[in-house]
């Protein structure tokens, strides 16, 4: 029972780390998906005196995806009743050209500023409409969400690290006596610490298995998918192979570090 309790302490701490790590990754993925979604719906409007060549504009920035001319017909239609066809044609010729510029990814406010600056270097371009107010608000909301989640993940990580250090002291106390006795009979360091490393690896495997089951369940839960769908994104919460390997790597590294600290901190009794 006592041994199970000792195992549980490290397993819970490791699950805590894996949980915060995975939550952080899910949020990263959700934000990336959301940014992609925003980028699809976001575009700049360029007002130009002359017709713009698409290839000239697209090479201004790697993030530029497509440039399409906006038809002035919608605006002119409203004037249809008051102007003759000839005047409308004349008006069409004198009106500036409007272009819709689409981007590959959702830009940050700084990137928007840079894009505007670069586009305005073209003497034909009179104005660039970035819809900065709406854009800024959405972008800041995203950043705020990401910061809140990062703070949450870091807090869980911090508490877990404190738990692990407490566990380290318990393990140090628990294993010190056995390691000292083994040393008195000439056991080399690897043999003295073998039990410790074996326990750490077993705990890391248990923690990874538990987290795997937990996130597999979360990933298969329709409620989670519905929440993401409700904001128009589709996020894969858990990449079975990739994420499991990351979890395994992290938990084994942490537990081996813990065991190494104990071995290094071991002092032979005199």
């Amino acid at each position: 029972m006592k041994s199970l309790k000792n195992h549980l302490s490290l397993v819970i701490a490791l699950v805590g780390i894996l949980f915060s790590l995975q939550v952080f990754m899910i949020v990263e993925r959700a934000i990336d998906a959301y940014k992609e979604n925003l980028a699809q719906n976001y575009s700049l409007v360029i007002v130009s005196k002359k017709i713009l060549a698409s290839e000239d504009i697209l090479k201004v920035d790697k993030n530029f995806s497509t440039l399409n001319e906006l038809s002035p017909d919608t605006v002119i239609k409203k004037l249809n009743s008051d102007f003759s066809q000839k005047n409308i044609e004349l008006l069409k010729l004198t009106l500036p050209k409007f272009y819709k510029l689409k981007l590959y990814s959702y830009p940050s406010p700084q990137e928007v500023e840079e894009i505007t600056e670069n586009l305005l270097k073209n003497s034909s371009i009179m104005k660039v409409e970035t819809f900065s107010k709406t854009h800024d608000t959405t972008y800041k909301l995203l950043l705020l969400f990401k910061t809140v989640i990062t703070v949450f993940a870091l807090s869980v990580l911090l508490v877990t690290i404190l738990l692990i250090f407490k566990e380290l002291r318990i393990w140090q106390f628990k294993h010190n006596e056995r390691m000292s006795i083994m040393a008195l009979f000439g056991a080399p360091v690897w043999l003295r610490s073998a039990v410790l490393f074996r326990l750490s690896i077993v705990d890391a495997l248990i923690a990874t298995a538990f987290s795997f089951i937990l996130f597999s369940y979360i990933a298969s839960n329709s409620w989670v998918a519905e929440q993401f769908n409700s904001i128009g994104i589709d996020v894969n919460v858990f990449h079975m192979l990739e994420d499991s390997l990351v979890m395994l790597g992290v938990s084994i590294t942490v537990s081996i570090l813990l065991a190494t600290f104990i071995v290094l901190g071991h002092k032979e009794e005199v």
Binding site: I181, A183, L184
Partner: protein, 223 residues
């Protein structure tokens, strides 16, 4: 006769300003039985600790089993300790291991095969009259029984040297006698060198022994 221990101008201290053993010179022949006596705090246990390398000489030279312990590397120290059996007054048994596994420890460290290990442990358990307790844990045994386990562990790998620190200090007569018999047996039958630190030398010893006495940091042989 070969010397298993050679101390020359040996000084021992826990810190630089407190010398416990001061520039002593002595040697122990291979296969001999030695008692080390002295008042409490005289340095008997300190001397014993230096013999298994837990305390390094601050001055002089100490050679045990051909290994110079002053500035000894951990690899050489491990090599020496593999050939020494130690019996402590507080037993130093691994509490979470069974009696059987505790006795096996030196055999595992020395890389004995599992079949040899099991036979040796069975035989030793019979010798220390604990065959029926093999699967128990140390804290389930009495002090005397725990010391018998520690004795079996010290003998398990047929060491060249047995070091015993007050092995019968807290024991009943039955366990004490059993311990002395085992130490005598190891010395006479296996020619193992035995060094026992004690307050009192038993009167009914059946082996020839040497007696060193420690007083005021120096050591002398009592004849």
């Amino acid at each position: 006769m070969d010397k298993v221990i050679i101390a020359d101008n040996l000084s021992l201290a826990y810190s630089n300003d407190e010398t416990i053993i001061n520039k002593v010179k002595f040697s122990v022949d291979s296969g001999s039985f030695v008692f080390v006596t002295g008042a409490s705090g005289s340095g008997k246990s300190t001397l014993l600790k230096s013999l298994y390398g837990a305390l390094k000489p601050t001055e002089g030279s100490l050679i045990v089993g051909g290994v110079e312990l002053r500035g000894v590397s951990s690899a050489k120290l491990n090599f020496l300790r593999k050939h020494i059996g130690i019996v402590f007054q507080d037993y130093k048994l691994v509490k979470e291991w069974t009696i059987e596994k505790n006795i096996m420890l030196p055999l595992i460290i020395n890389g004995y095969e599992k079949s040899v290990t099991q036979n040796q442990v069975d035989s030793l358990l019979k010798h220390v009259r604990l065959k029926h307790q093999a699967g128990k844990f140390p804290l389930e045994l009495s002090g005397g029984e725990q010391q018998r386990v520690a004795m079996a562990r010290a003998l398990s790998h047929n060491p060249i040297l047995i070091l015993a620190d007050e092995p019968t200090g807290n024991l009943d007569d039955y366990s004490s006698q059993l311990i002395w018999n085992l130490l005598e047996g190891a010395n006479t039958q296996l020619k193992t060198t035995v060094i026992v630190v004690t307050h009192h030398i038993p009167e009914n010893m059946n082996v020839d022994y040497k007696h060193f006495h420690i007083e005021y940091g120096s050591i002398h042989e009592v004849t």
